[in-house]
């Protein structure tokens, strides 16, 4: 049972435009959400997170939005750059638990 879902396996966006990556979850206990970025042959690196007490968190070009009623979060990248081409994973946890549940990933390709 996939508790965290990323329904788009891939996404292509023109350089300079906005990239929007989506993630849905089913477990209402989740209260902390993260996005990780992964380049080929490297481990995932942390990008940005959001607690369930917020609906938005921003860090430079990256913004994460959380819609708790819809159990949906999204990552916006503006403007998109070629170096943003990677696989993006959303992840969730609850109750301060060390354990993360990951989505299946979305491969983002930025077209120059």
């Amino acid at each position: 049972d996939q508790q965290v879902k990323q329904n788009s396996p891939s996404l292509s966006v023109q350089e300079g435009r906005i990239s929007i990556l989506n993630c849905d979850y089913t477990n209402s206990m989740f209260d902390y959400f993260l996005w990780y970025k992964k380049y080929p042959a490297e481990g995932p690196t942390f990008l940005i997170s959001i607690s369930s007490i917020k609906d938005k968190n921003e860090d430079g070009r990256f913004t994460v939005f959380l819609n708790k009623s819809a159990k949906h979060l999204s990552l916006h990248i503006v403007p998109s750059q070629p170096g943003d081409s990677a696989v993006y994973f959303c992840a969730a946890s609850w109750g301060g638990n060390e354990k993360l549940t990951f989505g299946t990933g979305t491969r983002l390709t930025i077209i120059p």
Partner: protein, 113 residues
């Protein structure tokens, strides 16, 4: 900077062999994790450890065991490798401090023939 290292980047083993994957972190983190990454399935947790000699099963522990004899080192063991264990294996560590995230190693790509 947190550093998580894994003993091998690429490994080729035969069916039935015993395989050891080693992970070392240098930030005195209490928690360590082993995941496997497969296309279309994302990262799935195999085992994790929140302290020396402690271990907890993740979502897919079957066919695997782990060992944590020292705080900085977490080993994943495939007792008898099978072809369906061909995968990318990722180790991560995390501090107990509030708000900390998991830091990942570069991964070991294991091929079981």
């Amino acid at each position: 900077d947190v550093k998580v290292t894994q003993s091998s980047r690429y490994l080729v083993k035969r069916t039935g062999e015993k395989v050891f994957l080693e992970c070392v972190q240098d930030m005195d983190h209490e928690n360590m994790f082993w995941y496997r990454q497969d296309p279309g399935l994302g990262l799935r947790l195999i085992y994790f450890s929140y302290d020396v000699k402690m271990k907890e099963k993740g979502d897919i522990p079957e066919g695997y065991s782990v060992s944590r004899e020292k705080k900085e080192r977490f080993s994943l063991i495939l007792e008898s490798a099978s072809t369906n264990q061909t995968s990318m294996y990722l180790c991560a560590s995390r501090s107990n401090r509030v708000g900390q995230t998991q830091y990942f190693g570069p991964g070991t790509r294991l091929l079981v023939l």
